[in-house]
Amino acid sequence: MNNIFVYCEIEDGQVADVSQELLTKGRGLANELNCKLEAIAIGHKLNGVEKQIIPYGVDTLYLADDERLFPYQTLPHTSIVVKLFDEEKPQIALMGASSIGRDLGPRVSSALHSGLTADCTSLIIGDHFDKKQDKKYENLLYQIRPAFGGNIIATIINPDCRPQMATVREGVMKKEILDENYKGEVVTLDVAKYVDDTDFVVEIIERHMEKSKVNIKGASIVVSGGYGVGSKENFKLLYDLAEVLGGEVGASRAAVDAGFAEHERQIGQTGVTVRPKLYIACGISGQIQHRAGMEESAQIIAINTDSEAPINSIADYVINGDVAEIIPKMIKSYKKNSK
């Protein structure tokens, strides 16, 4: 009762990174609130999955194992989560802001009439005083996210409804095993008590899952382009630089919307979060949603014709000039001076 729950996504026996990141965050919040961290995994052939979950500091792991529960489907997974939450009454529930979490989360929050905040970039515990009701709320979950085109940062709370639900994108939180030998309990649910046969009405005819070919998250150098790069052709220069430096190419949402780069390269609140050794921002103005996905980079170089661009204020180096002129110079200097 009154614990923190994390919904764990599983594909091919692997727990998703985002779920493990949320377990790490959840453990921290549980310590602060002095409550337990619990997790739920729903799927098929879940034997051994606890080894990828409990070490993050999970006290109780609930398993719902049935061949009909994989791949993910809205109704059966919703039924299980809603019934379990009804029984266990968690105070906080966290899910990945993934294709699954963003399908499941709203459905669950509607069924339980509990608030849900999408794409949080920070989760912290804090108090709240409601002046109208003259009522103090202690230890609420502050769900913090950029809003309204990134011009503001909103702190959202759910004072009265439980669980307080939030989704977070992959890569936003850090993932860290607490203790390989952490002692947690595994509870196997009697699936028939949680799902109705009538929940299985959608038929999955075909399914092709592929691991993304782009690995921006793991790259130590990211060369990223924005709308200011100007064209898909100019974007090729970024690939050239990334190749020479051994990095990956990223993009801002504006560049993706303009068709300069694929969606999977999008960095920011609604894309990937990166923390490379070096982030080279080319023609990126640096709205808060973009910065949310890269501001923890160790070093930032901003290349921009706009000396007022917000990105410049978080950059270690600001190069005032045209991307198409500067990148070839960087490549040339690198080739000349490396080795």
């Binding site: 294709s99 085109g149 702190t155 999955i204 399914r207 592929e210």
Partner: protein, 291 residues
């Protein structure tokens, strides 16, 4: 031939993708007037999917339901210009301050009044909030099935629909019974353009509130042309519990809003000269940041 009753959920949003410098006032607050109001982009993808079903099954009807202030009647008109049969503007001060759950409740209650819907099509998410929550929450409120991240309707028969879903890490083809809610991705085909004949036909379509603001003579014209009067529903038109609406019906509250203030780092300015660029690259090589 089968006729489907289709509802498109659409939202009028500030164009947050094109936030210019004048979007922020000198005091750091948002200048909403500087942001044009547009048809939420993914809702246009949703509208196209609905119109394609109507193309194939011409007896079908497509209506847009939108919630918002009076000016959101533009969304209903835009739909008519592109081939819908009509729409409903849900507008009332009682809806103000709704979070996604209170919004879904109000839309759900309106759709219960509409009744007998076969397919509800919505955009995956709106660009002002990016939550992707209202589609699934409306489905839950109506006890309907949902399929999110739809890119294409590949088959439709009397009792079932088959769709292709575009997920983060792959594609899925699923078949579901009707009725259901589908939410459509931006990767789906763009919406068709306005039709010139429909534009001429409906450019004067107005809600009762908009007609009220006209002079007497113009008002008279509408009494003979009911086809140009757009449906406008307020709280009085739908069956709702007052404590489920607006701020009161919203479990999430905004505790605080901070304007983004950048704390400037001590950054080093580099010119675009060959020497400066080479100096930077050498510095990065020496610190083992690169190389």
């Amino acid at each position: 031939m089968k006729a489907y009753k289709i509802i498109v959920l659409a939202k009028q949003v500030p164009d947050t993708r094109n936030v210019g410098k004048d979007a922020m006032k000198a005091d750091g607050t948002i200048n909403r007037a500087a942001l044009p109001a547009i048809f939420n982009p993914e809702d246009l993808n949703a509208l196209e999917q609905a119109l394609r079903i109507k193309d194939k099954f011409p007896q079908s009807t497509v209506e847009i339901v939108t919630m918002g202030p009076g000016r959101a009647a533009d969304i209903i008109r835009e739909g008519l210009f592109r081939g819908t049969d009509g729409g409903i503007l849900l507008t009332d001060r009682a809806f103000a301050g709704s979070d996604t759950l209170a919004t879904s409740y109000a839309i759900g209650q309106a759709l219960k009044k509409v009744g007998n819907i076969d397919i509800i099509v919505a955009g995956r998410q709106a660009i002002d909030g990016d939550t992707a929550q209202v589609g699934p929450q409306v489905a839950e409120k109506l006890g309907m099935l949902q399929i999110t991240y739809v890119e294409e309707v590949t088959a439709l028969d009397d009792n079932s629909i088959t769709v292709k879903r575009r997920l983060e890490s792959g594609v899925e083809t699923v078949k579901s019974p009707l009725p259901l809610v589908i939410t459509v991705n931006g990767s789906a085909p763009d919406c068709r353009a306005r039709n010139a004949k429909l534009l001429m036909k409906y450019k004067h379509a107005k809600t009762a509130t908009e007609i009220d603001a006209l002079d007497e003579k113009s008002k008279q014209l509408y009494s003979k042309r009911e086809g140009l009067i757009l449906k406008e529903w307020t709280v009085a038109d739908i069956d709702t519990e007052p404590d489920q609406l607006g701020l009161k019906g919203s479990p999430t509250k905004v505790k605080s809003i901070e304007n983004v203030v950048l704390q400037a780092k001590d950054s080093k300015a580099i010119s675009s000269s060959d020497e400066d660029i080479e100096g930077l690259v050498v510095e990065l090589l020496e610190s083992h940041t690169i190389g």
